[in-house]
Symmetry: none
Subunit: 217 residues, 4 copies
Amino acid sequence: MAKTQTQESGGRPLKRAVSDEDKRERRRAILAAAKRVFAERGYHATTIADVAKAADLSYGSIYWYFDSKEALFQALMDSEQRALRRHVAAAVGEGGQDDEVSRRRALADGVRAIFEHFEADKASAKLLFRDALTLGSGIERHLYAIYEGFIEDIERMIGSAQRHGVILNAPPRLVAFSVGGLIGNIAQRRTLTDDGFSAEEVADFVVKLVLDGLRPR
Amino acid sequence: MAKTQTQESGGRPLKRAVSDEDKRERRRAILAAAKRVFAERGYHATTIADVAKAADLSYGSIYWYFDSKEALFQALMDSEQRALRRHVAAAVGEGGQDDEVSRRRALADGVRAIFEHFEADKASAKLLFRDALTLGSGIERHLYAIYEGFIEDIERMIGSAQRHGVILNAPPRLVAFSVGGLIGNIAQRRTLTDDGFSAEEVADFVVKLVLDGLRPR
Amino acid sequence: MAKTQTQESGGRPLKRAVSDEDKRERRRAILAAAKRVFAERGYHATTIADVAKAADLSYGSIYWYFDSKEALFQALMDSEQRALRRHVAAAVGEGGQDDEVSRRRALADGVRAIFEHFEADKASAKLLFRDALTLGSGIERHLYAIYEGFIEDIERMIGSAQRHGVILNAPPRLVAFSVGGLIGNIAQRRTLTDDGFSAEEVADFVVKLVLDGLRPR
Amino acid sequence: MAKTQTQESGGRPLKRAVSDEDKRERRRAILAAAKRVFAERGYHATTIADVAKAADLSYGSIYWYFDSKEALFQALMDSEQRALRRHVAAAVGEGGQDDEVSRRRALADGVRAIFEHFEADKASAKLLFRDALTLGSGIERHLYAIYEGFIEDIERMIGSAQRHGVILNAPPRLVAFSVGGLIGNIAQRRTLTDDGFSAEEVADFVVKLVLDGLRPR
DNA sequence: AATGAATGAGGATTCATTCAT
DNA sequence: AATGAATGAATCCTCATTCAT
């Protein structure tokens, strides 16, 4: 036959996923590898072969776990979003919010948690704020939804703060866009250059800016 | 093929640059066409052929005016940035800034000008805030520089306001990142969905937020 | 994993060949599944995974029973050819062929048997007349041989009829090609659209055409 | 830039199509090359690279003239069908058809023309009768239509002969399928092995078979 | 025997760029 | 200056086949 492919050529015998747990583990490993390379090179400049190499697999294998490059990227974004949410929820959830002071602290905690998260995981910030909104066609809608989710989380935080009188009743969406953009931009810049501040300092600054503004008093 | 060609019967209007001015004009026309298609489809989804068609030229001709797709995109970004700066400078430059009130107004004017500009030219916002940071490797540096320029402009605005006591002496870079991100994000969202506010309302909101914060008083 | 496994709770019925007979049975089941999918999608559009799924087996298992996709297809064609031959032989074999009338009936019976067979098993017609000759290189020779076998069967039928004076002594090969093509084409068309005739009517028509031609008398 | 491709490597400077006529000529040349390789290897076993090499072009260039492999193949089939029709029409068209003898001759001429055509162009027969009906999905419908056209041409020939009393009023579609299959099969076999007959002899045989049948008289 | 993860050759297609005219 | 045909590197994805378990 003309096209029978011979492939007894070199190549290390890859360890094989055997159990369901192993398979999930392998999936996670691919996602981790993909995160590294996508964060480093961006979506378009990254090839499936890059991901495969980073995951120490052959390209074909990626398709065993994900339907396409797009699907892989979407899964990655979903997972990053979940991780961010988990982190923030954990940071905010502790402690009651009965008086105004504790409520304000909850807000500050939430903001700080975001920066801490991205501080600890710069790749995540790159993915979420750089690539998320710039993919053409089909994938765009999904990623837009993810970004939207980020904004909505913030909107909820803001809304809650407003209901408790912690902040003014300005238009919630505008506030959310403002705070989201402000946070996202700072987080992104911090993946590129060191601004010399700790995550905590940045969070404090942001909360103070948002609450009291910059006008001298 | 002399300069005095009569409009031949054929469909598309014969276009031929005859003087230096014509050439510059043609360059501008390509840039305008590129802006349209890049804004609509994004950098990666746009082909040189798309640009050429939008400019009513053949693919090859683009290369007479620009060295590469990247170079074309860079030139476009430069031009967009200059346009934004011109617009803002014009809005701010008028009137002295002697007392605090007029200085605060200058700040508000600057912010408003930004929103007005992007309101009137949504494509510009798409390009500057969507594509600008997502190009792999080489071009990235240039575009980063452009975005940086945007931030620096804001930093200057902020710095000036600080020197005159209009706003607090918070770390200028953080402030610039905050305000830049906040503005950029809102501008970008407004290219996607209508939030129901006029450019002026948004600008007022932003200035108020930045100056006075959201804490009820 | 003993032979006396009880049907575990899980979804699909556990299948495990335990004896030689079981193995032969499994092989037959794969062939049957392959027939369905190959007939439906054609050789090239069918993947081993399709066959495996239709046979409720895993991909790898197919290779325990067949060396390759080609080998599987060849085995399938062989089996289809044998089935056709069996059916025709059974239809023709009955009854002596002593006088001209009974000989003519034998011919008619053979032709009718062919149409009946393909009528009852359209997948078989699709496989034999659609895919059989369109496989590149290696497999082609084998399949060509199968088709050749079909022609030779007809040639034998024709030859016998000629020897007994039932039909003229025209060049046997040409006659066989004619009748084979005529039968094959009609059979194939009938897998695609209903021409409104029964297998018997078609067979009668064919025999009459071949014997008496279409010239008005 | 990472992906800028350098291709100053070797390769003869291909002659360039300049005028519209040249372009049409190049298109024809590609079709001719495609005919050769498709006929030799079959649709599936032929790659675009094969076609390109046969046409002395690079693969990319094929796409300048045809949208896809399928589109190329369809264009090829269309052109082959047209060529066949032209040939047959030319052979039949000459001479009036007033008496029965000349009408019968017209029928014989048509059949003979078909065989002559395929005799002179075996690749055409291979394409039309081997590949035409075996392509999955989208292309199938188009090719089916082509084959259908062949049948309809014959149906018309038959119908005309019937109206003039040259042949019996048997069901036209069955007759067409019969004669079409008979002709197609013989034509195809003749591309594989030499049966020792000239196109004329074969045509005479076919016409005689169809008109008078094989029963000794 | 059966499974299904892993492999990688192969192929269609895209598109930036070049260059003869 | 402009054209658009030609080029071929690049890349996604498919799928037959292998093989450890």
